[in-house]
Symmetry: C2
Subunit: 186 residues, 2 copies
């Protein structure tokens, strides 16, 4: 079940460096793309940074709407994550083409892609220099959600490999998140 | 053995979202800190983004020198990664305190922390607004290195858990990188 995540814990959804899906919508058009280049930026209010290339249709929708949703997909969705990177939203509605089920977000127009582990609803800080020079978008997280079996009481749960997050190695090759690290505290 | 990584492949050292160590040096002073908030920013020339808090001693050295090294530590170094986050470089030389062995970098003053998997020598793009408002540093990767058993021919190798990269969940808890994801290409 998808449950709200308090904003003070929202960055933990991204902190371990997963590849995300970026969903966007504006005036009835929508798109979704994959982005390995994302990171938390600040705690309070929670902020994120993500790189969105000028060539993408998502970029146009994000600049027009000022909003996007970052969704954290799991290993079972790897073909979808690769697939949405192989076509442009200018050519097709990727949601229809890939049969991507969605739910409505609470505070932005962009949808929540079903099957993911967690979602961050984001509103961009207009920073034209960063956007133009570096394709870099900075945004505030204004609402966050997670599957309760995946992220509970502010902590990622130990999940079977097919439900773990994806980490892009480059060239369309991915790792899952691995196991917890035992610390000596020595 | 530490071998050079061609710059066109250097971003793959960070692409999967590992926590890094940030090493810095200026006029005989040096520091090292951990940073989970980092990402690739552009391919050519390779650029990275990293968040460096104003309160850190590293920040002063990085702003003064315009340089840093991002090192990718492995799970066997988790206590070091946690430890360098618990003290300030203003209080102590962390390299001496933690017995951190280093090697010289090729193009920057900041050292290469031994025992890591890979290293990116970086020169910052002065962006005062980003640095002041977001604690965000953007930098060009001007040289890169990796242990040849960890990263070979432009690809991360399949490593035993203690030699895999670290992914910070928050609160001092880490995952390792996991195993490769099989794709259906369906």
């Amino acid at each position: 079940m998808r449950v709200p995540v308090e904003l003070s814990k929202a960055l933990r959804l991204l902190n371990h460096g997963p590849t995300v899906l970026v969903a966007s919508a504006h005036e009835g058009r929508r798109d979704v793309m994959a982005a390995a280049w994302n990171m938390p930026l600040d705690f309070s209010p929670p902020k994120v940074a993500v790189v969105i290339d000028k060539s993408t249709y998502s970029r146009a929708l994000i600049e027009a709407s000022g909003e996007f949703v970052l969704a954290v997909p799991c290993a079972a969705q790897v073909d979808l994550v690769c697939g949405v990177g192989q076509h442009s939203g200018r050519e097709m509605d990727k949601f229809a083409h890939y049969g991507i089920a969605t739910a409505s977000a609470s505070r932005v127009q962009a949808p929540l892609v079903e099957g993911c582990l967690a979602w961050l609803e984001c509103r961009i800080y207009p920073e034209p220099h960063n956007q133009q020079t570096y394709d870099l978008f900075l945004a505030e997280v204004i609402a966050a959600w997670a599957e309760d079996w995946a992220f509970k009481d502010g902590h990622w749960q130990d999940l079977p490999p097919e439900q773990r997050a994806l980490h892009h190695l480059g060239g369309g090759n991915f790792l899952t998140s691995g196991g917890p690290v035992l610390q000596g505290r020595g």
